[in-house]
Amino acid sequence: MTTTRIGLRQRLGPAREFLRGHQSLSITFGMAIAAVVLPLIVLIPPFNGFGTQKDFVGGFADAGVFVLLAIGLNVVVGLAGLLDLGYAAFFAIGAYTMAYGASGYSGLDTPFWIMIVVGAFVAAVFGLLLGAPTLRLRGDYLAIVTLGFGEIVPLVFLNADTYTNGTNGITGIAQPSLYGLAGINGFGFTNPWPYYITVLLIITIATMLVYRLQDSRLGRAWVALREDELAAASMGINTVSTKLLAFAIGASTAGLAGVFYSAKLASITPQQFEFQVSFTALAMVVLGGMGNTWGVILGAFIVYEIQSQGLHQLDAFAKSLHAPPISLGPITLDLSTINFINYQYLLFGLALVLMMLLRPEGLFPSRRRREELHEAAAEVEATAADAVSQT
């Protein structure tokens, strides 16, 4: 058994080694496959009954926004271990930056491609501004401060109505354009494909950059900080500036997501950036597997699709069963009248509790966790082999 395993490992060795050495290539490869395969889901039953391919592709583009949020939040929470409960604030800041940079409301018309950079930058600056006074706090205290920040930012956008148009929000946000390249001018509302491709490109680049950071001095410093702040300081790591960088990089990813989000929707209001967004992004990170970017991407995608599609279909499915109501004393359970969408946060909560009980490392745990299991197995094998050879 041992020999076949070694043989397999040797044969796979070069390919794995190549992909390890060319991480960016393998990320591009993976994303390209996903880009082609995902829209084909519509051909498979029962998904073909849920909508047209356009509906699906549009939904995937929306999911991409949350995937980006999860990637960025994972840097803050998963890598650096800083619990941020107000992450939606940076998302809002990115979205409003886009709304100012390119809409009828402000009269400016900065190209989307420039606004992506501007939005990420502005959000990063706010990340630094929030982080500088608060990152000396630890654990729960930081969580409370970020929670407050997440509440304050939408309220400011809501109440500063001279500048933000208050509850009505900002409409007429300019759409991305390729200026005639490949025959595309404005991305428009009817064709989701350009959005889908754009968000996949952004995700690909963000993933590459995060992986590079993770395997660098900064990434190791983040994990060291997460594991033991005192020991990290005794290694000469400046804990405050290292945390600030995590915060700023996380915030800039949320800013990016915000720019794309408001460009795709063309109108934004403060209500779109409330606590639920921060909570959903955090749930995505936890469910996907904290610290593992691929896991978090998958987690975000799955959670988003369940939220936006799955629950609707569950509703329809429950109605189609025509199950007779079950009477449980004072409560009558009637499947056909349950609105599952109303229960989404209850279901989230249940999923998180179950997750913490059954699989605390997340659906797709990080490579380090898997290496650990793998190592343990190898160790047992090695000692067993030693014992055999000694007798």
Partner: protein
């Protein structure tokens, strides 16, 4: 790479000069008027009963605690009250009484975290993954492996630090501290929980750090035979005060020291 430590240069001044160091916690004097003149390349021991202020002393020297009063000069530079990361960068490494490794990082990465300041890549170079960045990462890895080789942990390079055996964790912690290229290494109870043969290995390792790498060492320990064996000079703390100082043999014969330890034994 480790052979080029600055301690090799002829040194006439003291490496560490501590004067009148005191620390009070709400009226409790944990450390009271502590002083130390530490010559380069010595192995210096600080012993004393539980609660004598040894760990407080280490926390102050390494910048985790601010002293209530007193001054610390390291290599001629006043480091009193400097934050821990700056003290570490100046060349004071340390280990902890209760081991504080980065448990979820591999053995190799633990050492890399310690050594990476010597191969500083810029953020931009990292994001672009430039050839220079990749070369520096390779150099860092090679240096980290060499250090692991030195402490006999190279075979465990890919294991998570928290899965190591206890003695290996202690050794990794020392390796990690050495990786920051210290001129002075503070070892807090390095032999705690070790069996006699592990303690012997540790003794040899500490001597090699001094002889091969030119690192000056201050260690705190309960293990009196270890300290007597290893140290050039010893200080004895009791209730935050220095009660004796000198060569191991002289300190062992000091009646105050015997009283302090016997007194503790009677209470126990």
């Amino acid at each position: 790479m480790l052979a080029t430590l600055p301690a090799a240069e002829p040194e006439t001044t003291q490496l560490l000069e501590v004067r009148g160091l005191s620390k009070s916690f709400r009226g409790l004097r944990a450390l009271d008027g502590y002083a130390l003149d530490l010559r380069p390349l010595t192995i210096h021991g600080v012993i004393g009963p539980n609660g004598a202020g040894k760990t407080t002393l280490f926390h102050i020297l390494s910048g985790f605690l601010r002293p209530t009063s007193g001054t610390i000069y390291f290599a001629g530079q006043n480091i009193t009250g400097s934050p821990a990361y700056r003290v570490a960068r100046l060349g004071i490494g340390r280990t902890f009484q209760n081991i504080r490794l980065f448990g979820e990082l591999s053995v190799l990465d633990n050492v890399k975290v310690a050594m990476q300041r010597q191969w500083p890549p810029s953020l931009v170079a990292t994001l672009l993954s430039t050839p220079g960045f990749r070369r520096r990462e390779r150099e860092l890895e090679a240096a980290a492996l060499e250090l692991l080789e030195r402490v006999g942990l190279a075979r465990r390079r890919d294991q998570l630090a928290r899965n190591l055996a206890y003695g290996d964790q202690r050794r990794l912690e020392i390796a990690r501290a050495v990786g920051t290229r210290p001129r002075l290494l503070l070892l807090d109870e390095p032999s705690a929980g070790m069996n006699p043969s592990e303690t012997q290995e540790l003794l040899a390792l500490i001597r090699r750090l001094r002889d091969d790498l030119g690192i000056t060492i201050v260690l705190v320990a309960h293990d009196i035979p270890l300290v007597m064996n290893l140290c050039d000079r010893i200080q004895v703390l009791n209730y935050g005060k220095l009660i004796a100082e000198g060569h191991p043999a002289a300190v062992r014969a000091n009646p105050d020291v015997i009283a302090a330890y016997l007194g503790q034994a009677r209470r126990a």
